[in-house]
Symmetry: C2
């Protein structure tokens, strides 16, 4: 599949490398084509990797992944262009972390709203699926790094889009039984707010190779 | 031990009943001594159960448990009286849920603050330990209801107080290996914000007998 990947940070690079290894064509987007990190990523990611502006990447992708920081996501999507996103599945893996006041970070949007909801409101014909934001990027693409079985949440308003994203997650190594659909995009709020606990779990355990597994009684 | 229990709701009643069954003396506190729910609870909870005002309960307790809603906790503690709380361990199991705008609820404090931190700031010589707020009250006192092994977080500034609360949790049936100390009271923020995800897990699974288990890689 042709995938447009917005963001050149660790998350974008790691997701992009995995997607290329799975034989997808991936175009990494940044503010300006020729971005140093994007060019370096293309050189090592393998056949099928390319780079360009946010608009180039969004136009290229049959599916688009937002791997930018949640605090800048709305600006990035504006740069990507509404016509380049129209009707597409947009996988939002972002968190609105704001560490400008020091560590641990706070969230730039929370409680009464979320990045996932902001995107869906601003782009009503885009099929936003929130997922993967609750683990670090290494665990995103190699779930076994955090153990045999643990839970990946997803949510969004479009069942077909969620089914497509499930298949993508399964191709990353997530067992179907570990994927939990939390319903419509308003669940992005809880998924993003959880990340404040994730940071504490990371501080307490000293590893980013962590996740939680949902358990329920009989 | 003599325990002062603030709150007459489901959480207070369930915790109180368990504590009495473990041979603690429990005084349930409410706005006014003689509260109908508190009196009914005393009649069925067993030997060792009593009731009174918030101040009566706080004065009575060698250890105090806040089982009131997080949005009213600061008012409740003011009614309990600073002199009745001074120097004591206060176990805060509250969540600042605000469903006044409908379901799912939002939080009345979050992101840059938490109920646990509010209490600790207002009562610096009280040893606040945040715990149990991440599961429903039945799971609090019978952890096996949510499965064999899952994680209970706790945090607070005083190591001695946390050790005492660990013993209490173990007496409820929490295995020591499932208790995770997240550090100082500022971790209450993440623990309280997680509850917005808990609500979605409850909606998705249809059971309150749920929890998460922390897993980490090798």
């Amino acid at each position: 599949m042709r995938i447009g990947l917005l963001g050149t940070g660790m998350v974008g690079q790691t997701l992009g490398r995995k997607l290329v290894s799975l034989d997808h064509e991936v175009r990494m987007g940044s503010r300006q084509a020729g971005n140093e990190k994007a060019v370096a990523w293309v050189e090592t990611a393998g056949v099928g990797a390319s780079e360009g502006s946010f608009a180039d990447a969004a136009e290229f992708g049959e599916l688009v992944i937002n791997a930018t920081g949640g605090s800048v996501t709305m600006d990035v999507l504006a740069a990507a262009g509404v016509h380049n996103l129209a009707g597409k599945v947009l996988v939002d893996v972002s968190n609105p972390l704001d560490a400008s006041g020091g560590m641990p970070p706070i969230l730039s949007v929370s409680n009464t709203d979320s990045v996932g909801e902001q995107i869906q409101r601003a782009y009503p014909d885009v099929k936003v699926v929130k997922t993967l934001n609750t683990v670090n990027c290494e665990v995103m693409v190699t779930p076994s790094l955090a153990g045999e079985s643990h839970t990946m949440f997803l949510c969004g308003n479009d069942d077909g889009a969620k089914a497509e994203v499930r298949r993508l997650l399964e191709s990353f190594g997530w067992p179907p039984s570990d994927l939990l659909d939390l319903g419509d995009i308003s669940s992005a709020r809880g998924m993003e707010m959880y990340v404040t606990l994730w940071v504490r779990l990371w501080m307490a355990t000293g590893t980013g190779h962590l996740n939680v597994k949902l358990v329920t009684g009989p």
